[in-house]
């Protein structure tokens, strides 16, 4: 997190806010509700309390504007800049302005969710600057999140409490629901949810995030899964790149999603039984596509199945036990992918490097072999 510094914070706990005008995109009641809930996000974790006034000058004046709107920072039309807000101070300080050339929504991702944009802007109104944690609310780039299930990220809580301290009304013995944190590529104990290639890049999935690693880059880029694939599930079980379909497939529970670039392919999500997996298989732990044979190996528990991508049928003689083919792999498979002819099968924080041809195990490596920290 970061703050504006120079002790730019309110020196009082009770703040007023006033909604000066409305956007035509939503009903007034929806705007009122979005604004009130967005302020409540911060009130819940600090001593700050907000009350609405309907005339005069409030600490936080809220308005919808287009292009130039008398503060010296004109908006830019649809998309691009969505809103801005000013650090705590008299007058313009604390005020939040929303670009009315945007389409704001109450909860749909057909536009920008006003609650999410407002909660971010009120972070500025209270003294927070931007965070470089892609999972934090104060990250500068907008990402859709369901407002009904939104919980403030640990980084944001640390930031706002560095200015105002915790909420005195919360009994420390009744801790808040655990604030989400962003997985750390340097955490050697981290167990990845899934790993896949995609057009020469490597993708490492964990919780709501994934890292993209390009061959020529030394630092993988971390971002929210839904930033790239808004229709994708999070906390996935497995993933692989289908060379036949030129698609990325993500597995979660009994369902599988297929993406052409950023778009969900028609007819998806499907059931995993569309691979010919028996009903007894409730989820897939890992999937690996073998370039040489054109087979897709689907791992479930201590077994794996072989699916022929060209014939679109499950191969006979499966399932087989994992350790029948993958020498020495007696623990649960958590992720798998193939890269430059080698097959990498993850079990917990370890990665086993195999030749599928011979079944020979070459090396046991750690996560950070590919996912550099």
């Amino acid at each position: 997190f970061s703050t504006f510094g120079g002790d730019l914070k309110w020196d009082k706990k009770s703040l007023t806010y006033r909604i000066e005008n409305y956007t035509p995109d939503m009903s007034a009641a929806e705007v009122d509700d979005s604004i009130a809930r967005a302020l409540q996000v911060w009130a819940r974790v600090t001593p700050l309390r907000f009350s609405r006034i309907y005339s005069g000058t409030a600490d936080i004046m809220i308005s919808f504007n287009r292009r130039a709107h008398r503060d010296g920072y004109p908006f830019d039309g649809p998309d691009g800049t969505l809103a801005h807000a000013f650090a705590p101070a008299p007058g313009l300080g604390g005020d939040a302005h929303f670009d009315d050339d945007e389409t704001f929504t109450f909860r749909s991702n057909s536009g920008y969710v006003l609650f999410m944009v407002a909660a971010h802007e009120f972070g500025h109104s209270l003294g927070l600057s931007h965070s470089d944690d892609p999972g934090a609310l104060m990250y500068p780039v907008y990402s859709y999140r369901n407002p009904d299930t939104f919980t403030l990220h640990r980084d944001d809580i640390n930031g706002i409490q560095s200015l105002y301290g915790p909420n005195p009304d919360v009994d420390p013995r009744e801790p808040e629901p655990t604030a989400p944190t962003t997985p750390d590529a340097c955490d050697s104990t981290m167990v990845l949810d899934a790993v896949a290639t995609l057009r020469g890049e490597m993708l490492f999935f964990k919780d709501s995030f994934f890292w993209r690693s390009y061959p020529q880059s030394n630092t993988p880029q971390q971002t929210l899964i839904t930033n790239f694939w808004p229709d994708a599930p999070v906390n996935i079980d497995a993933a692989y790149e289908s060379q036949q379909l030129d698609r990325l497939l993500l597995f979660k529970g009994r369902r599988v999603w297929a993406f052409n670039a950023y778009d969900l392919a028609p007819g998806y999500p499907k059931s995993i039984s569309s691979f010919g997996l028996p009903q007894s298989v409730k989820k897939v732990d890992a999937v690996l596509y073998d370039q040489a044979s054109g087979k897709t190996l689907l791992f479930a528990g201590d077994s794996y199945y072989s699916y022929d991508e060209a014939r679109k049928t499950m191969d006979q003689g499966f399932p087989k036990r994992v350790d029948e083919t993958f020498t020495g792999l007696t623990t649960k498979v958590t992720a798998a992918f193939q890269y430059r002819g080698f097959s990498y099968v993850y079990s917990g924080p370890y990665m086993f490097e195999y030749s599928l041809r011979s079944g020979r195990l070459f090396r046991v490596l750690r996560n950070d072999y590919f996912l550099r920290c």
Binding site: S2, G80, A83, H84, A85, V141, Y142
Partner: protein, 81 residues
Amino acid sequence: CVPISQVAEQDESFAESYLKKFFNLTEESNSVVRRGISPLTRKLADMQKFFGLHITGTLDADTLAMMKKPRCGVPDVKIAR
């Protein structure tokens, strides 16, 4: 090497205005080249570092894509104001 897509003229001016708005690239600073690195290159690298991108100091496709994502209008670096 992977041919870097030709970045159109307007993308460069878009990138320059982005860096002015969010990473405090100023006209003055944009004229002084220190140790052979132009301020534009340095600010680009700052932006790439902030967003966890591959730090090249050049306007590649991923950097441009990040600049075009919808975002907040408050700068990403402290600007005395």
